[in-house]
């Protein structure tokens, strides 16, 4: 199966290599006999947007959780260029250091806003909380930053004190996006960020995400089963099937000239409208 991986050669001519922001090496996660993901390796550079695509059960979310420090892998390494220690295996850090790094340098946008928001405190408090966690105690500054971010994600700032449950799904997702960007992360994970939304709401949220990612120069790892989302957001793709990476490459190359049988099936299964 490993020999089956369709990947572009890793050698390159005429250009220098900058240090990676994230390096994943031979990452494997099994649940007993069941393989979540196996032998996944890749590097991510600052400002690069990587899409992970594949059908349900292909191991996308397991991979994302293992990379993002939520799920210790069975084997392999996840190294991140931390501001305090440089390129470091995140599972080699002690728990407080790892959590601090996750708080300071990462964001994680969940598919379901309920998983990423605290439903009992106001939308504004949800957005401001990461600043508080980083030690900011100046109420005025935090409120100003919160209002600025609510505006950036195009939410009505007069509703800053409303609870998340009083917002629509699309608005909750915007709160979640603001909450995950306000502290200036260098890497943001997104798990089907537009998954549960109506198409028109989804489209507007995608426009917003794309704009923010470009303006802030964010590195992003986005999991999606939607090829249109992948094409719109990602610079390059990883295609997964049964826990294995079956193909990687430039987004438009993988989508327009897929090499692996499964990628071909995946791309040809998209309905045209």
């Amino acid at each position: 199966m490993d020999a089956d991986v369709m990947t572009r050669p890793q050698a390159a001519s005429g250009m220098t290599q900058a240090a990676p922001l994230l390096r994943v090496t031979d990452l494997t996660k099994s649940y007993g006999h069941v393989v979540g993901c196996r032998n996944v390796s890749f590097e991510l550079r600052p400002g690069e947007v990587l899409g992970i695509v594949g059908e349900s059960g292909s191991g996308k979310t397991t991979l994302l959780n293992a990379i993002s420090g939520k799920l210790p892998p069975s084997a392999g390494k996840v190294e991140f260029d931390t501001s305090r220690f440089g390129l470091t295996d995140i599972y080699g850090l002690n728990e407080p250091d790892r959590r601090r790094m996750q708080r300071e340098e990462w964001g994680f946008v969940h598919q379901n806003p309920r998983d990423g928001l605290r439903m009992r405190v106001s939308g504004g408090a949800n957005v401001a909380e990461p600043l508080m966690n980083l030690g900011n105690r100046h109420y005025g500054q935090m409120r100003a930053a919160t209002i600025e971010w609510l505006e950036r994600v195009e939410l009505d700032t007069r509703r800053i004190d409303d609870k998340p449950r009083n917002f629509s799904g699309g608005m909750q997702q915007r709160i979640q996006v603001a909450r995950n960007l306000i502290h200036g992360p260098r890497l943001v994970f997104m798990d089907e960020p537009t998954g549960g939304l109506d198409v028109s709401v989804q489209a507007r949220l995608l426009d917003l995400l794309r704009e923010l990612v470009r303006d802030l120069g964010l590195a992003v790892i986005i999991v999606t089963h939607d090829m249109a989302v992948a094409r719109l957001m990602a610079d390059r793709l990883i295609v997964m099937k049964n826990g294995f990476v079956v193909e990687t490459g430039l987004t438009d190359q993988v989508l327009d000239d897929p090499q692996h049988p499964y990628s071909q099936l995946l791309v040809s299964s998209v309905l045209q409208i």
Partner: protein, 234 residues
């Protein structure tokens, strides 16, 4: 100015394998070599289906060639598009290698003016200058001003085509691939595009083009290249 060729294609082959159709194998071309120097516009010749667009897309990195190399002169060094990492290909496309297809494929819901400014903004040009250049080009291409603030999805074929052309010609790309850029244009607009192409060539751009319109072809081609000579055996 450098006299090195800007594109060097060597021993290129492309075969499509359709795994979900009994692994049908569709050979397109093989042992194809081609060099394009500054100021040259090589027009791909051959009947429909011979692989002209496939060659263009292989050069752009949109298709993955089965064999061979496609080197593009980028920042004074050759980058092999078939071997380069995704971020390198994207950098080459951002600054060196432009592509005009027959179809406008852009992010929906974004205004025409914004779409055309985008390639400049990505390259660090100021908003004012980008807007100025975008408006100049849209005027030259005679796209009605009332359309500028609208997304191009509802435009006519010819209007979309001109948005496409503006998006590529606004950047003075050193290398351009033109896949029937004049396909759905009327005579006057074709003439405007011919002028844009000639200006780019005079500036030293290297181009590879597909033109079914003979007048356009004769006006811009410095040389014809028969893709059918490299037809791969089925």
């Amino acid at each position: 100015m450098s006299t090195l060729p800007l594109i060097v294609v060597e021993d290129l082959a492309k075969t499509f394998v359709l795994h979900n159709a009994d692994s049908a194998s569709i050979p397109v071309f093989e042992r194809l070599s081609l060099e394009v120097s500054p100021g040259e516009c090589v027009v791909l010749a051959g009947e429909s289906g011979v692989g002209k667009s496939t060659l263009m897309r292989s050069i752009y990195g949109n298709y993955l060639p089965t064999q061979g190399s496609v080197r593009v002169l980028h920042d004074g060094a050759y980058v092999d598009i078939t071997q380069a990492l995704p971020h390198q290909v994207l950098d080459v496309r951002r600054r060196t290698l432009g592509y005009v297809s027959q179809f406008l494929r852009v992010i929906p819901r974004i205004s025409t003016l914004q779409l055309i400014m985008e390639p400049l903004l990505e390259n660090g040009v100021s908003t004012e200058e980008a807007q100025d250049r975008a408006e100049t080009l849209l005027s030259a291409l005679r796209l009605p001003r009332a359309h500028w603030e609208l997304p191009p999805a509802t435009f006519s074929g010819g209007e979309q085509q001109r948005v496409n052309i503006a998006r590529s010609f606004i950047r003075n790309y050193p290398v351009m691939l033109l896949d029937e850029p004049t396909a759905s244009l009327d005579a006057e607009n074709r003439a405007i595009v011919v002028t844009l192409i000639q200006q780019a060539l005079a500036r030293g751009a290297a181009m590879i083009g597909i033109f079914h319109d003979h007048d356009v072809r004769d006006a811009v081609a410095t040389r014809l290249f028969g893709v059918s000579e490299f037809k791969a055996a089925a």
